[in-house]
Symmetry: D2
């Protein structure tokens, strides 16, 4: 059996991409007669026809490597709801290049945007398998995405380092943690880092509650507090606004980000010296953790199995401790948020951690 497989990585880079690529390749080479085509910079390469045949040895030694050997780019479409003229042309180009490459199937590694486009291509008749990559952990129908736990490790290490400064200076520190509109990364890193206050996009916060929690610690003789704040966190007023209205309100504020705004409010309301740290892109870089290497490799091998069996239009994911696959159409267009009654949220509350509400 011969299969000619195109692979692309799309969206923000993320630890585990190369491990997953290697998993697909090693299993494919071992299980059947595989040819692998690397498509450059995600969907951009598929649209513009930039690809190359991969040699078997190119998949050696990449298990531990951060980033992606295939390059990546942002999603090709601004909005998927309305596929305008321009987008129709892009889809045409992708289909034409798929044919030119003589692919039997396409493996896409990416997040929510990637899965949407993968589903679109699947509906257009291409044979697609998609793997869930994102540090945000916000993909539907998978318990966990690869990259997430490595990002948790990095963000936790950041909080650990700030702890010593906070404790030595008796300062309050606000750490802004990635995760887009979902709070997974902040929830896990906040708990692992021993944060005193954890603010998630899913639980709009009340700044007075936050200040109370800081003040309560100060009154109990703890000179410092650590706030783990999701980049997507919102206070109650913002949460009640419509999207456009919120964007306008934010543009009128003097603060670049939610974390700076919260710090300013704490200083103003209760006079506690507060510092902000925004670790930013370091949360998505570097070698994948052991956990993510195992996960990415398993996802990659599962994709090779699906290809061997000719099962397409699927999104690979984790259910409990099993790798599974679900129809792409059930995954595309949905976002997995932290449920307000998630066991970890409950555990945090039961320990007296302030969730902002």
């Amino acid at each position: 059996m011969t299969r000619r497989i195109g692979i692309l990585t799309s969206g923000g880079d993320c630890p585990g991409l190369n491990a997953a690529i290697r998993g697909v390749a090693r299993a494919a080479y071992a299980m059947f007669d595989a040819e692998i085509v690397g498509i450059q910079d995600g969907y951009r390469g598929l649209i513009e026809g930039e690809w190359r045949e991969m040699r078997r040895d190119e998949f050696s030694g990449i298990l531990t490597l951060g980033g992606t050997i295939l390059g990546t780019s942002r999603q090709p479409f601004r909005t998927m709801r309305v596929i305008g003229e321009d987008n129709v042309d892009k889809v045409k180009s992708m289909k034409k290049n798929y044919e030119r490459m003589k692919l039997d199937c396409l493996v896409t590694l990416g997040g929510n945007g990637t899965h949407k486009t993968a589903n679109l291509l699947s509906e257009e008749g291409l044979n697609v398998v998609s793997l869930p990559k994102t540090i945000d952990n916000d993909i539907w129908l998978t318990d966990v995405t690869f990259g997430f736990h490595t990002a948790v490790d990095i963000a936790t290490d950041v909080i650990d380092r700030l702890h010593t400064t906070a404790a030595s200076h008796g300062r309050t520190m606000v750490v802004e943690i990635m995760g887009n509109k979902a709070g997974w990364l902040t929830l896990y890193a906040g708990l692992a880092g021993g944060a005193d206050i954890i603010l998630l996009p899913e639980i709009p916060y009340d700044i007075d509650r936050v200040c109370e929690a800081v003040a309560r610690r100060a009154n109990a003789g703890k000179a410092f507090s650590i706030l783990a704040v999701a980049e997507g966190a919102m206070d109650r007023e913002e949460a009640a606004m419509k999207k456009k209205q919120r964007a306008e309100a934010r543009a009128a504020m003097p603060y670049a980000s939610v974390s700076h705004r919260i710090a300013a409010q704490i200083e103003q309301k209760i006079g506690v010296e507060t510092r902000v740290v925004v670790p930013g892109h370091i949360q998505r870089g570097g070698s994948p953790s052991a956990y993510d290497r195992v996960l990415s490799t398993r996802f990659g091998v599962h994709a090779a199995q699906l290809i061997r069996d000719g099962v397409y239009g699927m999104a690979v994911g984790m259910h409990g401790h099993d790798v599974v696959h679900n129809p792409l159409r059930e995954v595309a267009g949905k976002t997995k948020f932290v449920p307000q009654d998630h066991q970890i949220v409950q555990a945090a509350r039961q320990m007296g951690i302030c969730m902002g509400d």
Copy 2:
């Protein structure tokens, strides 16, 4: 509501013990009127009556700390099947001290041996809750134990470091990985470290298959191989022996451990220079990983919930992504081995990794 809680940590030390202790304490203090008694060095302290009242601030700042602030010791009973005179006395002492401490309940943190004794005490009428701690991941009715993923991280880092030496010198390296009689740690670290050959206790190996795999790589132009070997791995002859017979056979061998034996056999059979590394105790030391801090904390909080609700005789565990509890009697005395058809074993085979058989 007031609850007076005794806590002890028993068996080999393991990352996450302090995080779990902190989880119990913080949730207990936050949820009800809790008094916490620290029992020194595991069951030894319970038998000999060595304990002390803990202050609330003793649970601060220990989340990231390796080891256990309570000390630990080996199991009190050599064998649980026959409770001889001596053991009867020990049980009596434990019950008497439980009463002297005026405990409402006892939280035990440990592995299989700890759970056995916890169950015994539960059957004797004490109120016991047990948390699953071990780097071996071999406790029944929990998908994962705390300490395991930190150990995977460490063992993977060891394999990563050996990779550069192996590749630079064109050498074969055998890494002996902990895990007692179970292969979980070796399986995960072997896959995460990109080992070429993974030998687990659950899959008896054939040394000729192992040598073939090394030779095959050499013939394919790969100058080196990495073997991840579980400390409990056995070849087929050993696996077929009875326990006593095996012990005698091993005592007659010139090698201290399975890894040295395999290395000698590879050198002798196919003339490939082979080195052994036995990282040993470093696999159980140091600060818990972010994953294990979250897990330990959740387990600790769950124990506090059970105490609040007066639910005893339980072993806390993980099922999928939920913390659960099961009757101690269903957990005690059983060992969770790697199933031969475990998805990760299958994935390893599908990638062409030699599993020794």
Copy 3:
């Protein structure tokens, strides 16, 4: 021989403070009959009379601990040139408390500000020994300060992580690195992280040269560039300004920091997508590296020797590979900048790294 020693840590916290404190204590206890008084929060505790007798066991287990067990605070005087009424009072308080504590001597751990005040107290007749602590490495008459190499490790790790994102996305990344007005941290981390462009306060940059270097790499087929920019870096115009004028010019700019300004200029001038990362306080937190533990310990032991020998008014430092001491008055008030012809600067130039000029 009995010596009663006061210890304080002052200025920004820094890895190695606890290791140095432990070095003083362990050597003092071993060499003579020592009593140690911990002064809380640096000079603040000396002024306000907040201190406590330390127990010997309080110095155990702190070697690896980040931050400072004594707490710290900013310098007590805004400006040292003019000692106004208020400052005179502060000095009086410090002398009075020194007497109240019945100290034989005072060990101060800190940076340039700390050394200034230490010198002032020495001139006022107190017995002072000062240890050079700062991640900035900018203290006079010592080749290296403790905390510096740990900060280099952290900043290098940040650059490593950004490399994977930069390479995968073909993006230019600007990393803003601490160091106050000196470029040591940026120079070392920039070289260690493989930065393409390194901008130091000591070498005013020309934005056109910087853009040329980015463009040159792009033309040579390298899709990305990494800029390591010191927080104190200045372009030529700024460097030519007087301090007050510069502050005004900066206040009028729309950018919070030099790194954001450079990124905006690169995007505007040559249209290359550029991202900024400001790791901030994480550069001063966490456990000291092995290098800094050895250095801090040696400094601490040397301080204990000086106390044993009754040699005061000294600043401890490193000369080559020897720990030495110099009169505080020769160290106070000076700053050690990176010489423009430093061997590492030359090496960077010889490798084709752009230094901005």
Copy 4:
């Protein structure tokens, strides 16, 4: 100016080899018209004529990579004193291949053995520059070798991890640390890891003194001790023996290594439970630390300068904080041991650390 440069790495692999190679290459390409020939597996490739032209892009992205992209092998000569027939042939082959490759010069990266051979080739008329690579830090006329501080970091991390186990179980742990016949690595890692007893080859130990130190700590209420033991450590009897006699004495002992022997003696003499950890090859693997990346890069650039200036027969080294070069003949054949009165040894003694004597 054109220079055709051969590069080889010889002896045990070591972090920083690739960083140094990159330093040579980047500076050479930037400073003059350079052609670089990679010689495979150290002197073996020079003898057997295995080499290849390197492309410029092969030196990209290797700064952080452990091991050596050129491969390495053991020294070509068993003993350098007597150059027998076989060795004469090897030297002839090396000279012939140097000519075949049309080299202007040869850069050798290695330890003491490598420098000896480099000096031999220099005396035979080849243009040689040698860089000091070894985790042992035992090369003459350089304050520090690259690889050393990375190994210190790793060995310190090992001791850190064992600390938690030792403290939790109240056990004595013996860690065997690399360093060949020199004690540098053990001295630094022992101090950085907070070891209680440090045994170096340069200071023969008395087992009774060691046992006394362990017992003294136990009596002072410290339940555990950490011993950092150099792989080359010897007791006084062994140290007094001649080399051959010592080898015979060791062969007659039931212990594989000095660390196991010491552990057995402690258990036997004072009945304290003692465990051994031999981290082995992990001490030489993985990515170089920031310190070693800077050092290796500087050494590499210095080699390129020497080549540019036509200065050969030189060993590059560090003197204080300056990179320098010395005649190879002054470096070859000597070993830099830890002086018995080294400042760090003195500091350790002053802190009450047992040095075994």
